[in-house]
Amino acid sequence: MQLAEISSVSLAFLGSGGAGVISTGELLLEAACKNGWYGLLTRSVGPQIRGGEAAAMLRLATQPVDCHADRFDLLVAVDWLNAQRFALEMPLGPRTIALCDPESGAVPEFVRAAGVRVIELPLKAMTAANPEWRPNMIALGAALRVLGLPEDAARAAIENRFGDKGAAVIVASLAAVKGGADAVESGVLPARLPAPAASGTARWRISGNQAVGLGAVRGGVRFAAAYPITPATEILEWLALNLAKVGGALVQAEDELASINMIIGGSYAGAPSITATSGPGLSLMVEGIGLATAAEVPIVVVDVMRGGPSTGIPTKSEQSDLNIALYGMHGDAPHIVVAPQSVSDCVFTAQWATYLAEAMQIPVLLLSDQFMGQAHAAIDRPADVAFVGQRRIARDIAGTYRRYSLNGPNVTAMALPGTPGGQYTADGLSHSERGTPSSAASDHRAQLDKRANKVHEFDFGDHWATLHGSGEIAVLTWGSVTGAVLEGIALARTDGIDVRVIAPRLLLPAQPERMAAALGGVRELIVIEQSHGAQFYRYLRAHYHLPRNVRVVNSAGPLPLRPGDIYRELTAERAA
């Protein structure tokens, strides 16, 4: 049979406690990446700390991918325990192949209903015959064979991962992989991913959370304070290890109230500083962010959004912290809100965020989300950019030092502790030019003006948004949804529908002139976001002039938007 060539293939490993499907997914991603492909790996897990049902979802491709496909091509079930939980997250179809062990129980309803072709993989019999083989390694081997990869492709990944467990484990794992590969046919998939073209560019395998950490350090961050929270903890863990390598440090805080104030103290003392959290932690930090605004202390606060409100869904994604990021603070508190659009963009946006914070002596909120934060992706090495935090520092102070001077630039030189003559008290109270508490209307207004103007005057440049395509139909979207939107409009273009995409990376301050230019000639606008309350749409309505004809496509998390969802929205519009 002649196999059709497609540009990506999607597969999932499923299994319950102890099956090791997540690490199997990681090994396969690594093997596929070593083979020259790109890829994206996300996970979905039950609420258990250990022993919960889990799914590793992979998409392998010949070019970088920022979202999952519409359909899984291959499902490898180590067992089916509680697999029904993933019914909504795992779109399947008649072209999907499921590899599973008939001894592991009945195929779940959602798999059968989709008309999936089931191929037996006798895991129990194989492990009975080879007690040192582990089912997930057999599953890995089977997946490699179906994808057309040699089983040896995983050797380096296995050696790397199990190196500290001894040679016997590696030998057994490689044998299990080979056993799994030999247990299935290579041609069962209706389509095969072509061999990757030799690429001249360096490639990375990185998660969005790691990418945020790296970008921040590139931007100059040298201090972090940390309180663990899912799904942001990996940023803090990465920083703990890596800040120490570049002369920085991370301190674990007792709560988020402490972590936000610790970085304010660290930044006041001169170190570009960061913390990372998720929704509930951000709620606790908001007062501190207001303090940093008033006292003009630069900080970067990363919010890896998860389902909310309250504890919500800690392990799954949503774009529903936009409102608190934009409007959470009491008083008039100018600050910056930025959002990366992909794993790769996390590097740039975190670096830019650090630069902006230092340049304007202001808090910058970076809104990532669980989807891209915890996704592992193979990407082209992000380009080096020149954004490195440069704070105006007061040195050689003569005469009376005015920390919040109104004569001169609105971003005023900051004296660091130890500088003679620069002593001042940073204050959350309304204050005079010297920082002295003042409840006078004139001081209050003058400092509000100063803090607002330093943001308004700043030239954010072309990085405020990514702009794609052209046409009289435009999609406005943001954050990790951008990846699916871009694939969706590419599909629409094959139908002859031209759509432009405007994805602001800079959400606050709003850029009305730039947005007006980007929307020039647009007849219809579709706003696409992942929030039940259409927060992004309401934000756009509040800050921008939008075309008369606006449609909103908003869905709550945690299900990711897929390219086909976008395509259907665009074509439904045509048909209507």
Partner: protein
């Protein structure tokens, strides 16, 4: 007497030109005097001292000094001081706070700052009342104090901050009385000099909402015994004293916390290696 080197600084070198807004009669005036005198004795220039506070009457102190200061939000002085000290260990960092700011809204930070044992000094002006918001009970208020917010009193047992400091790992625990300026000055010098987290509780009367505290000056007395380095013994003494024992009550020898900074730093490109395929 041995000839000590002449101090290079006077207390007035550590005072700013800003007039305090405290009520005349307030104990915090004494504490400000004691802090500036202690700093003069310590002999570091004002720019090498940072004073951090939260919100409340006592938290006004930073701006009244000529040091670097941070007047943050309610309850969060200790975390700000922690960040500051981690980045600038060369600075002398003092936290000035009160019983509401330090023990109630900032209570969790109090526990963990003691436990972390960074080389900081926490000075709490305890007047058993919220003064700035007009007389509500704090964690150290007596159970029967009738207030507008708690008519008839809270009925709650006040907590003992010195025992909590001790149990949480503070490396130096002292009680002072604002009116004893000489002793308070000397305790502050001692606290700042002692390595690790030093906790100084200063009984500082609120003449506006607790005029009964004017009698404190006749109730306080020196601690009958010297400081111990045995936390169990110190705890027993503090739990059984009358609350007016003044002096250094515990002087520990735990190693202060010092975060690990990785030397001068590697080239940033080295951080990318783990990601390379």
């Amino acid at each position: 007497m041995s000839a000590e080197p002449k101090p290079a600084y006077k207390a007035s070198d550590f005072k700013s030109d800003i007039a305090p807004i405290w009520c005349p009669g307030c104990g915090d005036y004494h504490v400000l005097l004691s802090i500036t005198r202690a700093l003069a004795q310590l002999g570091k220039p004002p720019e090498q001292v940072a004073i951090v506070s939260g919100i409340g009457c006592s938290s006004r102190i930073p701006a009244y000094t000529n040091c670097y200061g941070f007047h943050g939000v309610h309850g969060r002085a200790l975390p700000i001081a922690t960040g500051l000290k981690v980045i600038r260990p060369d600075q002398t960092v003092i936290v000035t706070t009160g019983d509401g700011d330090g023990y109630s809204i900032g209570g969790n930070h109090f526990l963990h700052a003691c436990r972390r044992n960074l080389d900081l000094t926490m000075i709490v002006m305890d007047n058993h009342i919220y003064g700035m918001t007009k007389g509500q009970p704090s964690p150290t208020t007596e159970p029967d104090l009738d207030t507008a917010l708690t008519p008839g009193g809270t009925g709650l047992r006040p907590f003992n901050p010195l025992v909590i400091a001790l149990a949480s790992g503070a490396n130096f625990v002292a009680r002072a009385f604002a009116g004893n300026i000489g002793q308070t000055t000397s305790i502050i010098v001692d606290a700042v000099t002692h390595p690790g987290f030093s906790f100084v509780e200063i009984l500082s009367p609120c003449v506006t909402f607790r005029p009964d505290q004017r009698s404190w000056k006749t109730q306080v007395h020196p601690a009958p015994v010297d400081a111990t380095d045995d936390p169990a013994r110190a705890a027993r003494r503090i739990m059984t004293d009358d609350g007016f024992n003044l002096g250094v009550l515990y002087r520990g020898n735990r190693q202060p916390y010092t975060p690990k900074f990785g030397g001068s730093g590697c080239d940033l490109s080295e951080l990318e290696r783990e990601f390379e395929l």
